[in-house]
């Protein structure tokens, strides 16, 4: 596997911009837990069968699934990249799904984060089984760590998994599959 320094620099830049967005949202002067910080986003509960159903609904499109959590700093840093990909490649048939692996008690914090990120071009979900072995097992997140991303082709086949914050690897996998008709 070829490794370069570039993804790291990129991830750091992304993290900085993500946090700038958070900071802007946090400084809007609205009370904590209010509606401030951006457009309200859709957030639905998800387990493995639901994910399988959602993937089936997206047949014909390339699907990127971003497993993240508010407790995972590298995930928070990578998140804007997934939103950006959804915007950039919507016309070419990319669907982006984000799945928060936070405890359900953190739903308000997850919603605030998503709103601050402007996460409207992506479909957002919150895992139903919390921060638990079951969650990582059910979604087959090998190694038990996030960020973890999966890329499915237009036929619904899992074609790539990317562990860690490596935007270049994600781009490469997505672009390759978008090129397949």
């Amino acid at each position: 596997m070829i490794r370069t320094e570039r993804p790291c620099a990129f991830a750091v830049a992304l993290a900085a911009s993500a946090l700038a967005a958070l900071l802007a949202a946090g400084c809007s002067g609205r009370p904590e837990g209010g509606e401030g910080g951006g457009q309200a986003v859709d957030l639905r509960p998800i387990d493995r069968p639901t994910l399988d159903r959602v993937l089936k609904e997206h047949r014909g499109r390339v699907v990127l699934v971003d497993f993240w959590a508010t407790w995972c700093a590298p995930c928070v840093g990578l998140f804007p990249h997934s939103v950006d990909l959804a915007r950039r490649y919507a016309d070419r048939g990319l669907a982006v799904i984000t799945i928060s692996l936070d405890d359900r008690s953190q739903e308000a914090a997850v919603r605030r984060f998503l709103a601050a990120q402007g996460a409207t071009p992506v479909e957002n979900f919150l895992a139903t089984s919390g921060v638990s072995p079951k969650t990582f097992e059910d979604f087959q997140i090998e190694g038990g760590g996030i960020p973890f991303l999966k890329v499915y082709d237009r036929g619904g086949r899992l074609r790539a998994t990317i562990a860690g914050a490596h935007p270049e690897k994600i781009d490469r996998a997505v672009e390759e599959l978008l090129g397949e008709m």
């Binding site: 900085a16 072995p133 990582f136 760590g145 860690g164 914050a165 490596h166």
Partner: protein, 203 residues
């Protein structure tokens, strides 16, 4: 104003972490159930002493936990590890915590502070070489390995089945220890570890 500073310090922390998150290197295959436990020696710790597996020769079981300072999941399990040591030390079980991350928050001085604040009643080692992590194949914090009386691997995985205490139904690690102390096999020898990826330096 306070909130602004909190946010700014959070930004700085996340930028550093994002940089660290890029450094996941190749992982060793690690150990499996029944393998001989890789030994360690001369590892520094928050108590100022050097630690090795040989120091624990009187322990019936050793609970080796890969953990760290910065990870919220690892932090969520600190009190549970302190309680475990309290409950099991008299039965011949010794908990050993080890951090192998080299990011700023996970270095020896912040580790000393954390160990003191949280009242760690077990040694908190810092393996700056990361060899212990690679030897065991630790991928996340927390990641638990139980060494039996013959110093073979008897349990690998998570502490229990939920980070949120109120949602815990099965205490995998305690169940494994109880079984092993009774001369039986753990009801579940391998469970899915989960948490923050260990930041391995590039080779």
């Amino acid at each position: 104003m306070v909130r602004t500073w909190q946010a700014i310090s959070m930004i700085a922390a996340v930028v550093v972490l994002a940089a660290a998150g890029c450094q996941e290197g190749a992982q060793a295959a690690g150990v499996k159930i029944g393998d001989a436990a890789p030994a360690w020696s001369g590892i520094q710790a928050t108590d100022g002493k050097l630690h090795g597996l040989a120091d624990l020769k009187d322990a019936k079981l050793v609970v080796l936990v890969f953990t760290c300072n910065h990870c919220p999941v690892a932090q969520g399990y600190e009190d549970r590890l302190v309680a475990l040591q309290k409950d099991y030390q008299s039965k011949g079980v010794e908990v050993v915590a080890v951090n192998v991350n080299n990011i700023p928050d996970d270095r020896l001085e912040p580790m000393k502070k954390r160990a003191e604040e949280k009242g760690f009643n077990f040694p908190y080692l810092y393996d700056v070489t990361q060899k212990m992590g690679r030897d065991y194949g630790a991928t996340v914090t927390p990641h638990v390995f139980v060494l039996d009386k013959d110093r073979k691997i008897a349990y690998v995985g998570a502490v229990d089945d939920n980070l949120t205490v109120a949602s815990v139904k099965t205490n995998f690690l305690r169940d494994a220890l109880d079984a092993l102390l009774a001369g039986k096999a753990p009801p579940k020898a391998v469970t899915q570890q989960f948490g923050c990826s260990i930041k391995y330096d590039k080779n």
